[in-house]
């Protein structure tokens, strides 16, 4: 038994040191954010604050408010549209297979691995041509389209686990393809919708490349604005830390409160071994 205690102590020690490493940046963001302007000093960067202040967050919010708004306006329709499209595609590819539907699915899936640099020039030219370049609607469209592979994958895997017998029973009762979808599949889909909406929300909120290339300054989502802030010499680093926390807050909250669904999206993105 003694050996067990020794080994457990060692395990805990390693786990705690690792946890400290993982929490270090978050600790820094939080303590810097809540210090007063006077208490901010590179020398005492790691010290706990003497008193709580929100000056930094106020200053950061003033800088980022429009961009937080832009991100929100972009992400909500994006997540909902992606989920609807993914649900329909996933249902068809899981339950209504036709010759070569697996090939089609694989071809769709490939789209989630491509480096977007390889389609960037045509994308920009195309978005300019259809006059959706620079604004948020165009960014929503792009996120929805490049989200088709992952959302289809998540829904398809989920629907594949629903027994075909339920559908067969529905069919003998005379329900059609869309009838089965509406009356049997859709009511069972709530957990998958949660997974996909949360996944797409997080992805689009954190996405940088499309946001950087496809929007003009007034429509910048928060990642682009934060990156710009970080490059500016005029912003003090304490405000920058608070800004980073603000920019990361929505997805962090989603993770903290809806972590179960977030995890399932994460694991769905991992291919089966």
């Amino acid at each position: 038994m003694n050996r067990r205690i020794v080994s457990n102590t060692i395990f805990y020690l390693i786990l705690i040191i690792s946890a400290a490493f993982f929490l270090l940046p978050i600790y820094l963001m939080i303590i810097t954010g809540v210090k007063s302007f006077d208490a901010v000093d590179l020398k005492t960067m790691w010290a706990l604050p003497m008193s709580l202040h929100i000056d930094n967050f106020v200053a950061a919010y003033q800088q980022l408010a429009p961009n937080l708004g832009n991100s929100l306006v972009m992400v909500i329709p994006e997540a909902i549209l992606s989920a609807l499209l993914g649900s329909l595609n996933g249902y068809l590819l899981a339950k209504w297979k036709f010759p070569h539907s697996d090939l089609l699915f694989t071809l769709i899936l490939f789209g989630m691995f491509i480096p977007y640099q390889s389609i960037l020039i045509p994308l920009v030219k195309f978005m300019q041509f259809i006059r959706l370049y620079g604004g948020i609607p165009g960014l929503v469209l792009v996120h929805v389209i490049y989200g088709i592979p992952i959302t289809t994958l998540i829904f398809r895997n989920y629907y594949a686990s629903i027994s075909t017998e339920i559908l067969e029973a529905g069919r003998t009762d005379g329900a059609s393809l869309l009838g089965l979808y509406r009356h049997i599949i859709l009511p069972l889909s709530a957990p998958s919708f949660a997974v996909v909406i949360i996944w797409q929300f997080t992805q689009a909120w954190n996405e940088f490349l499309f946001a950087l290339i496809l929007t003009n300054q007034s429509n910048w989502p928060v990642t682009v604005a934060l990156n710009n802030l970080a490059g500016s010499q005029l912003v003090r680093w304490n405000v920058l830390m608070a800004a980073t926390l603000l920019a990361a807050l929505p997805t962090l909250l989603v993770y903290l409160f809806l972590g179960r669904y977030f995890m399932r999206g994460l694991m769905a993105g991992a291919l089966k071994g």
Binding site: F22, L104, F126, A248
Partner: protein, 358 residues
């Protein structure tokens, strides 16, 4: 394919209504545009009208009682979107990479493989990119696999507080590369002397002066090694979760049987668990590898244009959109695609085959 056809009133009426509504939309949007808060929404309007028009087709197809046709007709819009935005754009990029396009005006003069040749023969910056990608990819994959596997084994010991630790290790996954890059560039602040701060300050306080480092601003190629730290910070927890999934799927009976046979805990891992985790390692390598080959955000946030930390993703971006060297940018993009495809396509093909056999 269409053995039976039954004309029915309801689908016919719905189809006609959809056609009329969609057609009216198209008519309206082609004549007058709409503008909401400075964004031109004419194309979105046209797209929605087009989709409304199109949806009459699945409705008509229902009358043919062919499920294949119905399924295909419902998938069609997504297929078209992927065909254009993925495959069409890739071919377009390939064509641009064979051109001499430099400057704002498109120039499709055919120059063959010149852009590729120049990248590999007369471009020191691209050589830096290749070296950096190699360093980053190998370090990132190894770092994530080792830390991820280690943490998953620790959390497999049924210790109290397992869920809390797992939650902490996965937390960075919720944060964007930009945010973590911004924070990490403060943690890895290279300033010394009076302005010493970040991790260096911790090392100085602890008396570990030998650990004080210039971090990612170290001379080439060492600086690149430090960009791996934030990347591993973000994805080690994910790798851990992959391994934990693998470990949990190993039946307990197997371990029990080994214990009964007198195997030590170490031997159980060495001879039973590790071999069974090989498929997990393979998929982790593919997922992490394809991410590191296209790394972009993190380098932008950490490097801020530092050429010593350049990677193909950032080179493509600056050469195309700052220097207007479109043909060169396209060639870099295509090379990135090829490197990712080499990694991913065999895997996709294999999973498709095993899928089809079921």
């Amino acid at each position: 394919m269409f053995k039976r056809f039954k004309l029915r009133a309801r689908p016919l009426i719905i189809a006609i209504v959809l056609l009329v509504v969609g057609g009216a939309g198209i008519f309206f949007f082609t004549r007058s545009g709409i503008d909401v808060k400075g964004s031109n929404l004419t194309s979105i309007g046209l797209l929605i009208s087009g989709l409304v028009c199109y949806s009459s087709i699945p409705v008509i197809v229902t009358m043919f009682e062919s499920e294949t046709a119905l399924s295909l007709s419902l998938l069609f819009p997504s297929l078209v979107a992927i065909a254009i935005f993925v495959y069409g754009f890739i071919m377009w990029s390939v064509r641009v990479s064979f051109s001499a396009w430099k400057g704002l005006i498109p120039d499709f003069t055919w120059v063959g493989f010149k852009q590729y040749y120049d990248l590999f023969h007369n471009d020191p910056r691209f050589m830096i990119d290749l070296r950096n990608t190699l360093i980053f990819t190998v370090g990132f994959i190894l770092g994530c696999l080792i830390i991820g596997l280690g943490l998953s084994i620790l959390l497999d010991q049924r210790l109290k507080g397992e869920n809390i630790f797992r939650g902490i290790f996965l937390l960075p996954m919720a944060i964007s590369f930009i945010a973590s890059g911004v924070v990490w560039s403060w943690l890895m602040n290279p300033a010394t002397g009076d302005r010493i701060t970040g991790l260096n300050l911790i090392f100085q306080t602890l008396g570990l002066n030998s650990l004080i480092s210039l971090w990612h601003t170290s001379p080439q190629p060492w600086g690149m090694f430090f960009t791996i730290i934030p990347a591993v910070w973000q994805y080690a927890g994910y790798t851990m979760a992959l391994y934990m999934g693998g470990i949990r799927s190993i039946p307990d009976d197997l371990r029990e049987a080994a214990r009964v046979d007198g195997a030590s805990e170490f031997q159980i891992y060495r001879y039973i668990i590790f071999p069974l985790l090989q498929p997990v390692t393979l998929s982790a390598v593919i997922i992490l590898g394809h991410m590191s080959l296209k790394i972009f955000d993190l380098i932008v946030a950490l490097g801020r244009g530092d050429i010593r930390l350049d990677v193909p993703g950032t080179y493509m971006w600056t050469t195309t959109f700052s220097a207007n060297k479109y043909a060169q940018g396209a060639a870099i993009g295509v090379l990135m695609l090829v490197s990712v495809a080499v990694l991913v396509v065999p895997y996709l093909v294999r999973s498709m085959r095993s899928e089809t056999q079921l």
